[in-house]
Symmetry: C2
Subunit: 444 residues, 2 copies
């Protein structure tokens, strides 16, 4: 009822603003394929492609705000690839998105213009039974942690899940087939746009772990956001589910985690674990997670440069934007002595090398000859991983906002001290699963 009120309110403003547009519900709400507790209601305002982009933003947002105000609701301006309005009307959240009403998907101006075509395509291809199969698949994907095309997850989008059900026919057929998928080998083309030969070529050149040709746009891979990691997790979980189906896949168990269990996990592995803690600014999820992943890799490279062996890494963001980056090392403490390879005997820079090290206070042993090369045992610049971060983080490739966050605040905790962070809501659960590493669905 509220949705139709919003639609009516939006429609009624056409004459006030003397501009024509179509109001259309899109997304999982329109398709009746949403997961309970996550109804995203997306209403698109579709303007003529003749309207300049600046005007689209202006009219789109103004009309949306006005309609919400007329209904006594609240609105917030948001930004994904384009600006849109998140509205709260009588307790219901509705996204109102301005876009272009193009004739065919190959004429789209911005990626959001494609969404109505996706919605129409899926609606035209599914019946009631398939809707529940889609919900089942989405719930499965969510349970095992591969649902969501956003950068944080890099998993399966809702649309991709829908296409898989349309293609394979049912949840169990998706599972059965997916359990045999191999990364970079799967090519799905519902509308049979391509010949066998073209498929092979496209598999090689299209980015993504698998190729699912978008049925409304044959030049687009609907699975391009899927990482090999998430695809492989889905494959392995499908295989496990097919072998021994279990409701836990859909409703993952939530283990009780007490402090002493965490303490024990940290201690018994004998490795060194470092937590780098900062606070990042409020930004769009995709932007901040893009920067987090970039920084996670950048610091790993930095640690390797200073000879620390990284076994595992991970990042966690609290609701209040506390960022915790975790690294596990074989050891976070190295001896002061570092073996440094110099030039070959008889090479041009031999003299410089000898001159630099022969009586240097940084020389521990040598210079000496090993085989045909000069070698020196010298003092290491950094003997602990925590020093590497503190002193040299500016050398690392970091996301801009992460770099700025580090400049403002950087707290380094090691091993048992990391448990202090369990006061932040949700960290305990993240740390536990990051340490245990075994997916909950993996059984003997």
């Amino acid at each position: 009822k509220i949705v139709s009120e919003v639609i009516t309110a939006l429609e009624s403003l056409k004459s006030d603003y003397k501009i024509d547009y179509k109001v259309e519900i899109v997304g999982s709400y329109a398709k009746d394929t949403w997961l309970s507790g996550e109804a995203d209601i997306d209403i698109f305002l579709l303007f003529s492609p003749d309207l300049p982009q600046e005007s689209l933003g202006y009219y789109g947002l103004t009309i949306a705000k006005k309609a919400v105000e007329n209904l006594g609701g609240r609105w917030f301006e948001r930004y994904a690839t384009h600006p849109y309005i998140e509205a709260e009307v009588e307790g219901l959240t509705v996204d109102i998105v301005p876009a272009y009403a193009v004739e065919t998907p190959d004429k789209i101006i911005s990626p959001v213009d494609r969404t109505p075509f996706h919605t129409r395509y899926v609606k035209s291809r599914i019946d009631e039974e398939m809707k529940s199969q889609i919900r089942l698949l989405k719930k499965f994907m969510k349970g095992i942690g591969v649902y969501g095309a956003e950068i944080k997850v890099q998993g399966f989008s809702g649309y991709l899940a829908e296409l898989l059900i349309i293609y394979y026919g049912s949840f169990i057929e998706v599972i059965k087939n997916a359990s045999k998928w191999k990364p970079r080998k799967v090519f799905i083309d519902l509308e049979r746009f391509y010949s066998e030969r073209e498929r092979k070529k496209l598999l090689k050149i299209m980015p993504g772990a698998m190729v699912v040709i978008d049925p409304v746009d044959k030049a687009r891979n609907a699975a391009s956001a899927l990482s090999i990691q998430k695809m492989c997790e889905f494959v392995a979980a499908s295989k496990a589910f097919f072998k021994s189906p279990n409701v836990e896949f859909f409703f993952p168990p939530k283990p009780e985690i007490d402090q002493s269990r965490l303490e024990n996990l940290l201690k018994s592995r004998e490795t060194d674990i470092l937590a780098i803690v900062t606070i990042v600014p409020k930004l769009a999820e995709d932007i901040i997670w893009g920067q987090i992943y970039k920084s996670l890799d950048g610091l790993e490279t930095l640690f390797k440069k200073y000879n620390f062996k990284v076994l595992s890494k991970g990042a966690w963001l609290s609701k209040n934007n506390d960022l915790v980056m975790l690294y596990e090392f074989e050891t976070a403490k190295l001896p002061i002595t570092e073996k440094h390879l110099g030039p070959p005997v008889g090479s041009e820079n031999e003299n410089d090398f000898i001159f630099k090290y022969v009586n240097s206070p940084n020389t521990i042993a040598g210079p000496f000859i090993e085989g045909s090369r000069w070698i020196v045992f010298r003092k290491r610049k950094c003997t602990t991983a925590s020093e590497v971060v503190k002193v040299y983080y500016e050398e690392a490739r970091l996301g801009k906002h992460i770099y700025e966050s580090f400049n403002m605040k950087m707290q380094i905790l090691q091993n048992q001290d990391i448990l202090k962070l369990t006061s932040i809501d949700g960290f305990k659960e993240f740390l536990h699963s990051w340490l245990v590493k075994k997916p909950f669905w993996l059984k003997k």
Copy 2:
């Protein structure tokens, strides 16, 4: 005088044994190029090539022993490539070696048959001045530790030093030229047997760090026993000497080493040093050192297999055949956790991997998926380098006699405990130079 007495005694036995042979003095004594304090007097008994090899040994040794007995001396049977007699006559040590008198070096039956040709060649090419230049070069090589073609040293033979003086003309010319040598690039052909094109080919195929065509046998590299290590040490020391000549090169300083200095050297580097101590049987030097070097490499490979990073290694043999093998590690203690890479997701042996680790007591975390692969954090087999040696030395490629020695006795000492070994005569000096690593001649 004693030498001529020995020769006369040997000559006089020809009629007793009814066999003809020539008695010839060879080696540095014959050439007058020996280093003071190391006069090796080598007397060869040269038999006809018609004599079968068994008879050569029989007659050669019998005649040698008899002659020594006639002079009231003592003899010991020794074995290098062939058996020979080490004789002590009136306090003088003389080696008496049976060999074949062949017409030309290409007709030799055993390598020792070549020695008289080497002696004759050198004698025919040197004058008094060159003799002293040869002595100077040998003393220099000895001082910097590259003199001796035996397996322990893998350096320059006396004959090779003589050829270098003949080729370059003087000690300082050898030094000047050698300071520009590069390994596997030097080709010296005194008798100009080969054309430019042939030289290039031979450089590629002849083994050794450099090629010095034997002037009495053009198919032989007189430098084949020289290692790249020792060649490079000679090159670098030559360069240093040429830049700033110093008597220390010929008479190396012997540093006073006290226990506290060694203690400090061991401690301040923060690495872990392991000493593996055993007792090896009395064998020919070349045989035991061949086995020591093989074993040194074999154990290094073993350490690497168990993920211990070796920075340096070395071996020392006492006069009483105590063998000490030293290894320096970044760390000799690793955490119990080891990251183990499993098969790709979807591969054939995926199930075996999961089955093996999913509920194993050896699993610390996982199995989990990283990219497209299964990974497990599992318990390490060995967490200390000393455990690796003690438990798994049988897995290593070891010299036969070293392996047997380990079976009889193996003592492992680590860090400061190694200082207990300084009670063995000469070990302190070895340990000191092995830790310091800088050649004494290396100055700023």
